[in-house]
């Protein structure tokens, strides 16, 4: 493509853009035609008009809308809970989660799940309290039980273990006393 052709294409793209601005503005009482409309290829104008007419916005079902609203309300409540009941306790921030992948079905550069400009890392900005106070308490109780189990006094073992241990100790004593080889 020559420079002239490329510039011509960019000018046509700009004309198309101006025309689309007007097409989309018609619905709100904007001007129905503009001075540069005649400069735009009528084939493109017709295609733009048809897409404007036929590509309608699709609304999800009411049931889905309300179900998701309820789900979001639950999530919002969970977000509020740490601040309400867990602020006094220590919280552990979750570190870098790494790249959260994506895009690529058209060869675009990699994007990130929550990219808003700082795309080199994916980091949770919010510390996490799992499930709020109730879960924290449960974890604490379980942790205390585990520590107590680990720190308990010497393990006694079963009767069979105790018997085996006694036999072994008797044999060792006999060896030391020179009674056995």
């Amino acid at each position: 493509m020559t420079l002239f052709e490329r510039e011509g294409s960019e000018v046509e793209a700009l004309l198309t853009d101006r025309y689309l601005e007007r097409v989309l503005a018609r619905a709100t009482g904007g001007p129905s035609s503009g001075p540069v409309d005649a400069l735009l290829n009528p084939v493109l104008r017709d295609a733009a008009d048809q897409l404007r007419r036929d590509l309608v916005r699709v609304h999800p079902s009411f049931r889905f809308e309300e179900r998701l609203a309820a789900r979001l309300a639950e999530a919002a409540a969970a977000l509020r809970m740490p601040a309400a009941v867990g602020a006094e306790s220590g919280v552990v921030p979750i570190g870098v989660l790494g790249r959260a992948s994506v895009e690529g079905d058209d060869g675009d550069e990699g994007a990130y799940l929550f990219d808003d400009g700082e795309l080199d890392r994916r980091e949770l900005s919010r510390p996490l309290l799992i499930g709020g106070a109730l879960t924290s308490a449960a974890i604490s109780l379980a942790g205390a039980a585990w520590v107590a189990w680990r720190a308990r006094p010497a393990r006694r073992g079963s009767a069979m273990v105790r018997a085996a241990r006694a036999v072994r100790e008797a044999r060792l004593a006999a060896v030391h006393a020179g009674r056995l080889d």
């Binding site: 689309l20 295609a47 998701l68 999530a75 919010r126």
Partner: protein, 211 residues
């Protein structure tokens, strides 16, 4: 018609040239949702149909579109603190409003979903029936056929052009907003849409050539 997220202002000393500035009309709702996550509902209701439509055009299936919509809003709610409005003229390219940020999440969620299934989406032609007037049986059929042809033509576009067209015509976004969502320059978006229109015109036989 899209609500005027982006407005034009004339800078002092600039004779005859208009500069686009970006006004995030969602700022108050975003701030409220940050204070009280339950207030996120207002943003959800405002953008549900837009996000769902985008997902539906991209995925071609109601259930998958619902799934993508749910993931998008849950991610937006969980990461709202990370949203940073960059919508002043001084911010230049890469300006971001809440709507642009939300659609960037949607775009990535949808891309992940499309990649997961490894097949090209079919144009959801049955939805073209929505365009027709149900009371006008004869005329309705013709309108339906035309709409189905348009949907198919858009569905056959390369991914980047298809996205740009859907954001422009269905979501009624400005070129600047689409640039923000797709991570391209405004000039690149204009060229994408222009080329898409040429392809669609050819596909619909509007250029006089046989299809």
């Amino acid at each position: 018609m899209a609500r005027p997220v982006f407005g034009r202002v004339r800078a002092a000393g600039e004779a005859g040239s208009a500069r686009v500035t970006h006004l995030d009309r969602d700022r108050a709702l975003v701030e409220e949702a940050r204070r009280d996550p339950a207030s996120f509902d207002a943003l959800y209701r405002r953008y549900l149909a837009q996000v769902y439509s985008y997902a539906y055009y991209e995925l071609g299936d109601h259930h998958e579109a619902e799934d993508a919509t749910e993931r998008t809003f849950l991610a937006a709610l969980a990461n709202l603190d990370r949203f940073e409005e960059r919508a002043r003229p001084a911010d230049g390219d890469g300006a971001s409003t809440f709507r642009v940020w939300l659609f960037r999440i949607a775009r990535n969620v949808v891309a992940n979903q499309r990649r997961g299934r490894r097949r090209h989406p079919q144009a959801p032609i049955e939805a073209a029936a929505l365009v027709a007037d149900p009371l006008d049986i004869e005329g309705g059929a013709a309108v339906r056929d035309e709409a189905a042809a348009a949907w198919q033509a858009v569905g056959r576009l390369p991914a980047d052009r298809r996205r740009a067209v859907v954001l422009r015509f269905v979501e009624e976004m400005s070129t600047a907003e689409i640039a923000g969502v797709l991570g391209r320059s405004e000039g690149a978006v204009r060229v994408l849409i222009h080329r898409a229109l040429r392809t669609v015109a050819r596909d619909l036989g509007r250029d006089g050539r046989p299809r």
